[in-house]
């Protein structure tokens, strides 16, 4: 008998039929003798509809900024609906179930409305519910602050609730059900040969998530990493016996089995980046420091920073930012440049995509850079900027060349080789 934490996202409970399918799966798990804690998101479009109502009432689109406490109260209604419906559907199948709000489940957060952080999970009531023979259905995304206020966790909130509960309960398995089959080596809409990654480390998954893989939020993976909690990502749209295959989807685990001698585990990408090139700045630590501090103060997040000697003993600074932030970044950069003495020049390039090659296999392995550059050169894609971490290489390319780059890199690093099935089955 295992204790399972299963999380179902918005599309997985988007209609009465999908809720019934989830209830079927949970009931099957109970009949097998497992204890089940379910974490649910709000149904499909509920959150969008609630936001539209708030905008209609306030006559604008700044309600989250203007009324954070009340937005949390409003949006937390969404999971209340989905969890009560799911509890009913499970009970209709002869299996006892009880829904619990974030407050009842004691998901204690800080007081940052609309983006609260979990500070503690007092899982006593969830455990009592399970020990009493019921499925516990916990509202994802929401909590209660130390000041007894209703809070929501912001982006990736429901995943985070699920992983936090799994950690607090020391669950045997944490399963994140979603609308795709798992974590892919690359976006299958862009790279048709992309395949599911059977196992991936937490660190690699964080890198994939931060670089555009939307299947799971980095924050929840990071929490799993800290507590050594394995997380399986799989589709809620697979029904019947196939659905109970224990090796479905992707297992995020501390020590993924190295099934193949692969340098890369996966490739993620996202659009909407720009770079800002500042020439003729004074040398020394003060230039990048002043620039980065000013940008951070202005709320501009800088992704990559390159510093290089320019002509005449001056310095060139290249910064990568989100395209949305480009105007603000230019303004701040011009101010800092003037404060540093002026005389510099600014150049910008927008419409860029950021491609992350992720894999702990690249660590300490020479030639990965070279292979990436050669692959892209052969594909006719120019690299605009590059940076690296121990388990990733991030490349900036023109958005026009993104798909070609992804396909070339996916093939060049042998990611489209099929996984060796026996090794996957042994992973358990």
């Amino acid at each position: 008998m295992a204790l399972l934490v299963q999380k179902y996202g918005g599309t997985s409970v988007g209609t009465p039929e999908r809720i019934q399918a989830v209830a079927d799966r949970v009931a099957r798990a109970r009949r097998r003798g497992d204890d089940v804690v379910v974490v649910v998101s709000a149904m499909g479009h509920t959150t969008d509809e609630l936001i539209e109502l708030a905008e209609a009432v306030t006559g604008g689109d700044t309600c989250t900024a203007d009324h954070p406490r009340e937005m949390d109260m409003l949006l937390s209604a969404g999971e209340r609906i989905s969890m009560a419906l799911l509890a009913m559907a499970i009970r209709e199948r002869g299996v006892e179930a009880r829904s619990l709000t974030g407050s009842q489940a004691a998901i204690i957060t800080d007081e940052s409305h609309t983006a609260a952080r979990i500070v503690e999970v007092r899982a006593d009531r969830v455990r009592e519910t399970v020990d009493g023979g019921s499925v516990a259905i916990v509202a994802g995304f929401q909590g209660v602050s130390t000041a007894r206020e209703i809070t929501t966790l912001g982006r990736g909130g429901s995943d985070t609730t699920a992983v936090a509960l799994a950690c607090a309960l020391q669950a045997d398995r944490c399963e994140i059900y979603t609308d795709v089959d798992g974590v892919f080596t690359c976006d299958p809409r862009r790279v048709p040969t992309a395949r599911i990654i059977p196992q991936i480390s937490h660190a690699e998954m964080v890198e994939m998530a931060q670089s555009g893989a939307q299947v799971m939020h980095a924050r929840a993976v990071d929490l799993g990493a800290r507590y050594g909690m394995d997380i399986r990502v799989l589709s809620s749209f697979v029904d019947g016996p196939e659905s109970d295959d224990p090796n479905r989807g992707t297992l995020i685990t501390e020590h993924p089995m190295a099934m193949e001698d692969l340098v890369l585990t996966g490739i993620a990408s996202s659009r909407g980046y720009a770079k800002l090139i500042l020439r003729g700045l004074p040398p020394g630590m003060r230039t990048p420091t002043d620039m980065l501090v000013a940008l951070a103060d202005a709320g501009v997040s800088v992704d990559m920073v390159t510093e290089a000697p320019d002509a005449d003993g001056r310095v060139l600074l290249q910064l990568t930012v989100r395209e949305d932030d480009l105007d603000r970044a230019k303004q701040v950069a011009a101010e800092v440049e003037a404060a540093l003495g002026g005389g510099g020049a600014m150049e910008e390039r927008g419409g860029l995509s950021r491609i992350a090659l992720v894999g702990s296999g690249m660590s300490g392995r020479p030639g990965v850079y070279a292979q990436a550059y050669r692959t892209l050169m052969d594909a006719g894609v120019e690299v605009e900027a590059v940076s690296t971490s121990s388990i990733s290489i991030t490349l900036l390319v023109h958005a026009d060349g993104e798909d070609a780059a992804l396909r070339a890199l996916h093939a060049g690093f042998s990611l489209d080789r099929p996984a060796e099935v026996p090794a996957v089955a042994a992973a358990g």
Copy 2:
């Protein structure tokens, strides 16, 4: 500076525009220097939509009976939405506001899901909110049980929340905003000369509500009576300066001003009644006792009971029940009749309406019966049954004659005389 408790029903917060109108009124009250506690229902059709979802998920219409706890969890999402939206709308007007769930407002109930009774209101947090300079917006209809479960109060729940809070806070005024202008002397759709009752006692209002006046639920009025809390019923659809007239609508109060020498205060009616006539029963206390006990055990509510000597020293029993209960009542009555020795006969008449003449003015005043009968005879309406209490006379008539009866009685008891305005203005 007064402390106001204002309750807004589903149609009063049914659209973003109506929510803004409510926010305008609340903001005006705050600017006048009053402290305001608002109790809100779910928006217009929210509850119906949630019930439809539950029926779709469970595949039937017995979800309330089958899953009472989860229905409470589900439906309580409704007020969460309306109260958060209203809080935002009020804050948009530069007035601080905070929404509180039934649980946060400490509306403590028993554990009867879907029909919980309030056992205590610990109004500390509501008072703190108001003392802190905010409008407190409290979810109507919902509470938290002593076992920390989310409960709902059933029919009339939001009115009850408002009155309970007003009592607990010792509010200066308790205002129930609704979609009609107040309590009418009779249903204005049926009797065009019906007018608003300026003042009515709690007991009269309970009688009116139980007899079909839907403007306010008897349960909330009853609570107000026990704590001596005056309640004003008025329309939320009146905007502008007229809206702030302190004498708008109907004041439910312990000692209503007797403005006119009227016998009746109002007339209420409802359809869907039937009567069951049992003849040839054995005389003695056992006959009605066994019959009423058996009907009560079967869940049949009996409205009027008449016992009269029949032929041959036998007894005739006439019972009034809801038409929906008629089949069950007949079955139970037949069983009891057989157990009493048999030999009786049963007769039924459906399609009846129940008309209640309400007025503490009739107490100790002879001839009211006579006047009612003569009025109905002149109108050509036959009385099928009659019963009385200290402040009401209840008449059963054929539904076909209901409208004629209402108009005749309304005129016959001088209810269509206009109220004397100076007396009303003095009521304050």
